[in-house]
């Protein structure tokens, strides 16, 4: 990109700070649509969960019977979006499904996964992973080159979210649909029953929420404005050097 030009006579950098290409348009658009849809899924998901915050294993389960986990939440039926919460859940699910498909298909065609997310084999070592985790635990600022490429831990986490957790959400969600199960009974029997699917749906969702919290925390740590702008404009502004 543009070299830092100097106005003769003034020892000051002119114009904007250096910026680099960071995220492709497809990545940016699908990122923000997924962000909104996921937020709607969480809100409506909590509303659905509050109707019966008890988890079971197997095919069946009810309030007067044994449970797997009694979540420390109250039974609330009349949350403000009790009914529309269901409508919102499935509309958002469709939107995130289509968005996810566009992202994954375009990512395969543009080598997005291979270039940006698949870790290099030489990087895959426990020593590396331990180092990165320790750095995160010490809340250290990431090294500068990480503004332009993901580190190993990021790559593994994003791959887990994209190829394991989100597909598992759709799978366990569909396994709770009596209509879909009537066509493909295996999608629920592999989990050992409808209530097992519901429990896995809850835990996979919890991991995604945990991911979201850490994701936002890390963005804040790395520089909220710069990183968020990068996901909006596609360009990342290099940190200004002090003269």
């Amino acid at each position: 990109m543009a070299e830092a030009a100097y106005v003769p006579g003034l020892a000051m950098p002119r114009g904007e700070a250096r910026s680099d290409r960071r995220h492709s348009p497809v990545v940016r658009i699908t990122h923000w649509i997924t962000a909104v849809a996921f937020l709607c899924l969480v809100i409506s998901g909590v509303a659905i969960l509050l109707a019966h915050p008890r988890l079971y294993w197997g095919e069946t389960g009810a309030r007067s019977g044994p449970s797997l986990i009694d979540l420390p939440l109250p039974f609330v039926l009349d949350v403000p979006i009790r009914g529309p919460g269901r409508y919102l859940h499935f509309l958002s699910a469709w939107i995130s499904l289509f968005t996810g498909l566009i992202y994954v298909i375009s990512g395969l065609f543009t080598y997005h996964f291979r270039r940006h997310l698949l870790p290099a084999r030489s990087d895959l070592s426990w020593k590396q992973i331990r180092q990165i985790i320790l750095r995160h635990l010490r809340f250290e600022q990431p090294p500068k080159e990480e503004a332009l490429a993901y580190n190993l831990l990021q790559r593994l986490t994003y791959l887990l979210v994209i190829f394991v957790l989100f597909p598992l959400m759709f799978w366990t969600g569909l396994a709770m649909s009596p209509a879909v199960v009537s066509v493909f009974p295996t999608i629920v029997t592999v989990f050992g029953g409808q209530q097992s699917a519901r429990t896995i749906h809850f835990f996979a969702a919890s991991f995604l929420v945990l991911f979201l919290v850490i994701h936002i925390l890390m963005v804040c740590l790395a520089g909220f404005a710069v990183r968020t702008l990068a996901m909006i404009t596609g360009r990342i502004v290099a940190r200004k050097e002090t003269i």
């Binding site: 095919e59 389960g61 009810a62 309030r63 009914g83 409508y87 709770m176 209509a179 409808q194």
Partner: protein
């Protein structure tokens, strides 16, 4: 690169939007023609409902059957939601052992008919051990026995223009299912549960069982079944009383 909205961009965007809307309108018409449009497809969440119902109708085109279980898998604990209707007509019928209860079947049928409980019990009966989940999250497995809805519909003769079968109940609930669901062999008019008479709180004297949808669809305390080509004139026209409280009409989920 200029970030201004150019005239060309504006025209292309408007044309694309108009084409998109026209496309959606056409898609909705085609979907409606093939019976892929839920009665509550309009409004903010309509697109999601239309997609869910349409997709699942196509998936189930070969009349998939709900899973059936062994007798040993029947739940020991059978939860139940709601109380029987506290209205005078229902309480009087209940006190009389439903001897005076009649099921009315009318609408787009060749022979409008009424059935007494004794008459229904004399009709060919089938049973199923199926899983029933409440939209709240709990579920149980039970054995249900009764007359397939399709048997009654064939008895009264459904007219070709029929699109929906509507259920009316003593608790002022009403609901509807489409014709593929109505003629599905597992859609049952339930008279008995787990080898006993249908308990009052489970919908006596008669409830419908639609095992390919959530429990909410299996309406209790039935009084009348109407066959119709439109549900627009019933309630707010959304196919059931549930959408009026924000729940979707289609409960295949």
């Amino acid at each position: 690169m200029s970030k201004l909205i150019t005239r060309r961009k504006l025209i292309t965007t408007s044309l694309a939007t108009a084409a998109g809307l026209a496309g959606l309108e056409a898609a909705a018409r085609i979907a409606d023609h093939y019976g892929f449009l839920a009665p509550d497809h309009s409004g903010l969440f309509g697109a999601g409902e239309a997609l869910t119902y349409g997709t699942q109708r196509i998936l189930m085109a070969h009349h998939s059957a709900a899973r059936e279980f062994n007798r040993s898998e029947i739940s020991k604990i059978i939860p139940v939601n709601g109380e029987p209707p506290n209205t005078d007509p229902y309480q009087r019928l209940l006190a009389g052992g439903f001897a005076d209860w009649r099921l009315k079947v009318d609408g787009l049928v060749v022979r409008s008919s009424t059935f007494s409980l004794a008459e229904l019990k004399r009709l060919p009966s089938t049973s199923q051990i199926t899983h029933q989940a409440c939209e709240e999250g709990w579920s149980f497995i039970a054995e249900w026995s009764g007359v397939p809805l399709s048997y009654i519909l064939n008895l009264v003769g459904v007219r070709p223009e029929a699109k929906w079968v509507v259920f009316f109940a003593f608790d002022d609930a009403w609901d509807s299912i489409d014709m593929p669901e109505a003629f599905h062999p597992q859609t049952l008019l339930v008279l008995g549960m787990n080898g006993q008479e249908l308990p009052t709180r489970h919908g006596a004297p008669l409830r419908v069982r639609v095992p390919r949808q959530l429990g909410q669809k299996s309406k209790k305390y039935l009084s009348r079944i109407t066959v119709t080509d439109t549900v627009k004139n019933i309630g707010k026209g959304w196919g059931a009383v549930d959408p009026e409280y924000g729940y979707s009409w289609y409960m295949g989920i």
